[in-house]
């Protein structure tokens, strides 16, 4: 056990391991690229949907149940399915990652919108704001903390799952996991896994800090 961790440590700090097209630096960049792009696409789809459901109050059932649906969806299965349909391309990876990210963004956006005090919305209308003004000047800013939480959760999930890109022969940190498994190189597998975990945790902490900084004026009750 001790030997394993020693080798892992050596693997992670080895300068050669970080350089070149197979190096950790490049794999990390690939991994982040997949993750950010997938989350961005998911946000473009999910944010308007969540805002619309929250503003009109219609389709709340969908917003509430989408997250459990998303959790039940087998990501690897989806990759294989799209892979079989589309052949060798990045499509399976992005479709699977977007499908993973959309539910938490929709659900949290909706939750943020429905947590806006009805009295405040009523007051906004009563002061003479039109529907879109209520949405963009009152509801959206007030729902923002929860919307950002949704984006953060989605990104973390996507980062942790983007290893599947390597499953269909692409790059990212998953490369080490799948290559290591194929070569029965436990140190490499573990190294890849640790890197993914570290990236996820660091992103989570950084985004939490950003959220706190942005919303420091908010009353403590909104979580």
């Amino acid at each position: 056990m001790y030997e394993l961790f020693k080798n892992l440590g050596a693997w992670l700090v080895d300068g050669d391991q970080w350089a070149g097209p197979d190096g950790i630096g490049h794999r990390l960049a690939e991994h982040l690229q997949y993750s950010l792009l997938a989350t961005l696409i998911a946000a473009v789809i999910a944010l308007p949907l969540g805002l619309l459901i929250g503003h009109t109050g219609r389709g709340a059932f969908l917003a509430i149940n989408l997250s459990s649906f998303g959790r039940a969806l087998p990501t690897v299965g989806l990759v294989v399915l799209v892979f079989l349909a589309s052949g060798l391309s990045m499509w399976p990876v992005y479709i699977a990652l977007v499908a993973l990210a959309v539910p938490s963004i929709v659900t949290n956006t909706y939750a943020g919108m429905s947590a806006v005090d009805p009295e405040v919305k009523d007051a906004a209308r009563g002061q003479g704001m039109r529907g879109h003004q209520v949405l963009f000047q009152v509801e959206l800013p007030l729902a923002m903390p929860l919307i950002m939480t949704g984006l953060r959760l989605a990104l973390i999930q996507v980062v942790a799952t983007a290893t599947i890109a390597a499953y269909v022969s692409f790059g990212g940190l998953g490369r080490y996991v799948f290559d290591g498994l194929a070569q029965r190189d436990l140190v490499q597998v573990l190294g890849g896994a640790v890197l993914v975990a570290v990236v996820a945790v660091v992103l989570d902490l950084a985004l939490s800090a950003l959220q706190r900084a942005l919303f420091r004026h908010r009353p403590a009750k909104s979580a």
């Binding site: 007051a123 002061q127 003479g128 039109r130 009152v138 007030l142 908010r218 009353p219």
Partner: protein, 368 residues
């Protein structure tokens, strides 16, 4: 200024919130809608700025049918204050107040300058403008709510139980402030409350609503208290309505004179002739004195005459200097006269026109 013409509101679930309401509110002055919960007073108020649209009937503000106007534009032209203030938690106090001017396209600088001016009007410091609503007390938030409603200087102000959520001491302060503001600005105010004391205090006219959305009576406070239209109104006004009536009359007309001899109590004054205390001439026991001014109500005078030794009330001028004393009997007599005056005003012909708005509806469809 605001006219309701046979306005009816039935909600989709079948309940009738407002039943054939016909009411005319003249320009300037405070009309208070009172009644227990579910009587339609808030719905009636919200129909004025189209937060609720009537099922039938017409509402006119300044002669124009509200249904023919764009709802958002109409609302920008009418001040609206709600319970719990409904302030925007993500905006500073200053930006909250600037809401309507910004919607009207005044530009940020002009809107903020106006907001800063209003902070002062409602008795808040410039420093409070930089804070966020949750950093203010409930009373301060309510002041901000009033300032926000006044920002674009609308002629009409709608206030929906604005002081319902603050403690009684702060509520009294806010009521005083509102009366002071109203004296300055002379808006047409519609004020909803379930507190009859608040209604008597603030209202130039009080409209009493009964469950099912019926307007039972609309009259000036003195008339309402002296001549309730029916048992419902009398019950609503409470058993002490006679005393409430006295809160509307001041001490100014009540005679005063030097302290009579032989009551056994001596009023001790300081060098500036300000009353200090009552002293028992026999035992030298001392009782604190609470002198009253001409602007104090007959109700507080009656209260003081009961509490004061010998039934004597010390009267002072604006500087607190003794002007004379008034006996319990004089106050009592005056209180009786106030009742008679309020009760008979209805019968004098020249005033008949003023009271024609007293509306009593038939109980054709009692819901329960």
């Amino acid at each position: 200024m605001i006219q309701f013409d046979t306005v009816h509101k039935r909600f989709p679930n079948g309940t009738t919130a407002v039943h054939d309401l016909t009411l005319d509110m003249p320009e300037g002055g405070v009309t208070v809608f009172v009644g227990s919960s579910g009587c339609g007073k808030t719905t009636s108020l919200r129909m004025i700025n189209r937060m609720v649209d009537p099922t039938s009937g017409t509402i006119r503000v300044g002669g124009r049918d509200v249904l023919e106007q764009d709802a958002a534009e109409l609302r920008r032209s009418i001040g609206y204050v709600i319970q719990q203030s409904g302030l925007f938690p993500h905006r500073t106090v200053l930006d909250n107040i600037a809401t309507v001017p910004l919607l009207l396209g005044w530009g940020r600088r002009k809107a903020r300058a106006r907001a800063a001016e209003l902070l002062e009007t409602v008795g808040l410091t410039a420093e409070a403008g930089k804070r966020y609503p949750h950093q203010l007390s409930g009373g301060q938030q309510q002041r901000v709510g009033v300032a926000r409603a006044l920002a674009a200087d609308p002629p009409v102000l709608l206030m929906d139980e604005p002081f319902g959520a603050v403690d009684p001491v702060v509520r009294t302060q806010l009521q005083d402030e509102l009366l002071r503001l109203q004296q300055e600005l002379n808006k047409t105010i519609v004020f909803v409350t379930h507190d009859i004391d608040e209604a008597v205090r603030l209202g130039d006219r009080i409209a009493v609503f009964r469950t099912g959305g019926h307007l039972v009576q609309c009259a000036p406070p003195a008339e309402l208290l002296a001549r309730p239209a029916d048992d419902f109104v009398a019950d609503f006004l409470g058993a002490e309505r006679g005393l409430k009536l006295l809160s509307l009359t001041t001490l100014a007309d009540v005679g005063q004179g030097p302290a009579p001899e032989g009551t056994g109590w001596e009023l001790v004054l300081d060098a500036a002739r300000k009353p200090l205390l009552w002293r028992d001439e026999g035992t030298s026991a001392e009782v604190p004195v609470r002198p009253l001014r001409d602007s104090d109500s007959l109700l507080s005078a009656l209260n003081e005459s009961i509490a004061a030794p010998g039934g004597l009330v010390a009267r002072v001028d604006a500087d607190g200097v003794l002007t004379g004393v008034t006996s319990r009997d004089e106050i009592h007599d005056r209180a009786g006269l106030a009742h008679i005056a309020a009760g008979t005003r209805l019968d004098t012909p020249e005033d008949a026109g003023d009271t024609s708005d007293t509306a009593v509806h038939e109980d054709t469809d009692v819901a329960s």
